[in-house]
Symmetry: none
Subunit: 215 residues, 4 copies
DNA sequence: AATGAATGAGCGTTCATTCAT
DNA sequence: GATGAATGAACGCTCATTCAT
C-alpha cells in the first residue's frame, strides 16, 4: 500500500515485547506498519483488529502476541515510532547555530518526515486533537518534547538578539506549532499532492517578519 | 447540566425535520445539545445513542425521529450549530474598518465563542482533524468559509498598505487559522482554566509583527 | 424440553432487573429456565450465551437486558430460584412436631423438589461442589440455610430426648446433608429413572438407627 | 511448590505414552502434578494449557507429547493417580478383620489421603459432581470400586452379625460415601484448616449407632 | 409523536492445538 | 524429544437501529 516506509529502516526497538529474535521483530513491525496504514485510512475506532491482521498478513491472534490489546497498538505507535521522529528533530536543530536557522531546520525536517510517512501524519493529526484515552500520556510527552525544542530556540534567539524580547513564550510556542500543524493538516486534506517541504521557508518568513508592513 | 448554553438562544433552525411545532423543535435541540456534551466527553465513536438519549431525557427511538442515524447527529451539528457561529464571525468582522482590527475582532470573537461553549470547541477540534468522517462536507464548507473571511481581510490589508504585499496568501490563511486553533487546543488540554479571550491581542501582535527583531 | 417446570408456577420475583411488566417477567423467566436446562446439559462453562438465547427463543442481546453477564445468570438462579426451594423446606419442617418427623418431612420434600426439577438438581449438584467463583456467595448462603434447618431439628431432638446428646453437631449436619446429596447425585447419575422420594424413609431409618446391630 | 507430593513417591506408571525413559516419566508426572494444582485452583474449564505448562516448567507444545489433549489430562488423572489411591484403600481394609474396623480403616485412610493431597481432593470433588465430562468413564469406575469395597464390608458385617440385616444395601453405600464426601467437602470449603482424620471415629460412630436415642 | 424492548451483526479477545525449527 | 510462535474458531458482549404499542 505504501511503497516507502521509513519504519523498517529507522526503527531499532530496544525492548521487544516478547522476544528479540529477528523474526519476531519483523512481525512486530509488520503489524505496527499495517496498523498505522489502517488507522490512517479508517481512524482508530473504525479500524478492526481483523483488518490490521489481514493487512499485516498474520492471524488475528498473532496481534496479541505483540500487543496487549488494540489500544496498545496506538500506544506503542506513539511510544516508539513517532517519538523517534521527534528525536531526529532535535538532532537536526543542533546542526545550525543561528536561532532562526535552527527553527528552519526543525520545521523543514518536520515537514519532510511527515511528508515521507503520510500515514503517520494522518494518525498523528487525528489522535493529537482528541481526548484519546489510551495514548494520552504518550501524546502529552511528545507534545511537550516538541514545544521544549521550540522554546529553547526562541530563548536562544532572544539571547542573541535575533528575536523580540517582549514575547509571550508559551503563546509563541503554540503559534509556531499551530501554524506548522495546520500546514500539514491542509496538505493532508488536499490529498498530499503538493510538496510540503517547500512550505518551510515561507513559514519561517511569516514567523519572523509577521504579516504587517513595516517599511 | 450546563447552566448557560448559547445553543438555545442563538439557534434558529430553518427546516425542521418532521415538523415545526415548538415542542419538536425543543426536542431536536435538546438532543443536539446532549449529543455535543456526550461527544465532547467521550468522542464520537465512544458515545452511544443511548447515552445521548438519556442525557437529552428522551427515549432511544426518539433520536431517530429527528436524526437519520448517529452520524447524522454530527452532520447536523456542523450544518446548523457550528456554521452559525461562523456567521457571527462575519458579522463581527464587518464592525471594523481597518484590516488589522477586523482580524482582531474575528479572533477575539472566535476565542470568545469557543470559550463559551467548550463542548463545541472539543467536538470541533476533534472532528476537524480526522478524515473518513461522515461530516466531511460540512467541515470542508465551514473551513472554507473561515479561510475566506481571513483571505478577504488580508487582501484588504494588502490593498490599504497595512499588510505586506509579498505574502503567500493560502499559507497566511493556514498560518493564522493554525495558530488560533492550536491556542484553543492548548486551552482545552489545560482544562479550560485560563481566560482564552485574553490571548487575542498577543496573537494579533505575533501575526502582524512576527517574532523577529526589526529595530 | 422439560414438560413440567415448577419455575413459572412458584416464582414471584419481587424486584425485576429492568421493569416489572408481565412481558418482561415472562422473558426473564424464559431465559432463566432455558439457562438451567442448558447448564444442566452441558455444564456452566461449556454452555454458550447463544445456546441459552436459542433455547429461550430470544436474541443473544436480549439476555443482557435481564442479566448483567453470563455469570449473573447463575447468580440469579441461586439467588431467586433455588433459594426459594429452600424456603419451602422450612415451611415443610414446621408442619411436624416431632424432631424425627421434621427431618423426614425435610428430606422427603428435598427429594421431591429435586426430583421434580431435575435440571435444577444437576446444576445445584455441580455448582455446590466447585470453587465456582461467580455464585459462591449465593451457594454459601443456601448451604448455611439448609444446615441451619438441620441443626435446629437435631437440637430439638436432643432436647426432647429422641436424639443422642453426645453428638458432634457440625458433623451430624454434614452427615445428613452428605447422605441426602449423594442419594440425589446417584439418582442423577442413574438417569433419574427410579423414584427418588421413596428413598426418604430408608434414609431416615439409617440416620436414626445407624447400621449397627443393637439387639 | 508443594514440598510433599505423594504422586512422585507412590506412582508407578505402567505404560508410558511415548517412551519409558526416566526423563520422560519425570515430565509426564510433572505435568500431571502441575495440572492438578492448576485445576484445583481454577477449575478445569478455567485452567489453560499454558498455565499448566508454565506450572510444570515445560513448553505448551510439550503437553501434547504426553497427553492427547486438555481433556486427556483429566482422564489420565483419574485413570492413574486417583485410582491408585483407591487401591490403597483396599489394602488398608484388608488389615482389619472386623467389619466395623474395616470401615474405620477405610474412612481413616480416605480422609488421610485427601488431607495429604488437597488439590486432588478439590479436583475429585468438583469432577465427580458433574456430568458431560470427558473423564466420565474413569469416574464411574472409581466410584464403583469404592462402593464395592463398602458393599463387601457391609455384607461381611451382616454375615458376622455386627450389622443389621434389614439394610437397603445400595442406599447404605451412598449413605456412607455421601457422608464422607460431604465431610471432605466441608473441610475444603473451610480452607482445610482443621484435622480431617480426626473426623473418622465420630463418623463411624454415627454410621454404626445412628443419631437416634436407643436407651 | 414517543417509547424502549428487542434484535443480531459485528467486535475484541482468548486459548487449545499445530508444526517448523 | 522439546519448543513456543502462530493460528483461527469461537466466545461474551455491545450497541445502532427497528417497530409494535
Amino acid at each position: 500500500m505504501n511503497e516507502y516506509s521509513f519504519m523498517s529502516s529507522i526503527w531499532k526497538r530496544k525492548e521487544a515485547v516478547i522476544s528479540t529474535r529477528d523474526k519476531n521483530n519483523d512481525k512486530y513491525h509488520r503489524i505496527l506498519e499495517a496498523a498505522v496504514r489502517v488507522f490512517a485510512e479508517q481512524g482508530f475506532y473504525q479500524s478492526t483488529v481483523s483488518q490490521i491482521a489481514r493487512e499485516a498478513g498474520v492471524a488475528d491472534g498473532t496481534i496479541y502476541l505483540y500487543f496487549k490489546n488494540k489500544d496498545d497498538i496506538l500506544v506503542q505507535f506513539f511510544s516508539y515510532k513517532a517519538k523517534q521522529v521527534f528525536d531526529l528533530f532535535r538532532e537536526e536543530v543542533s546542526k545550525a547555530d543561528n536561532a532562526v536557522e535552527k527553527l528552519r531546520n526543525l520545521i523543514r525536517r518536520h515537514l519532510d518526515e511527515f511528508q515521507r510517512d503520510k500515514n503517520m501524519a494522518i494518525v498523528y493529526q487525528a489522535e493529537t486533537h482528541q481526548n484519546s484515552r489510551s495514548a494520552e500520556p504518550q501524546i502529552r510527552e511528545m507534545s511537550k518534547m516538541y514545544l521544549d525544542i521550540v522554546s529553547e530556540i526562541v530563548e536562544q534567539g532572544q539571547a542573541d538578539g535575533s528575536m523580540r524580547k517582549d514575547l509571550y513564550l508559551s503563546l509563541v510556542k503554540r503559534f509556531i506549532v499551530g501554524a506548522v500543524d495546520e500546514t500539514i493538516n491542509n496538505w493532508l486534506h488536499a490529498g498530499g499532492k503538493y510538496d510540503l517541504v517547500s512550505m518551510a521557508d515561507p513559514l519561517i518568513d511569516l514567523f519572523v517578519r509577521g504579516i504587517g508592513n513595516t517599511q
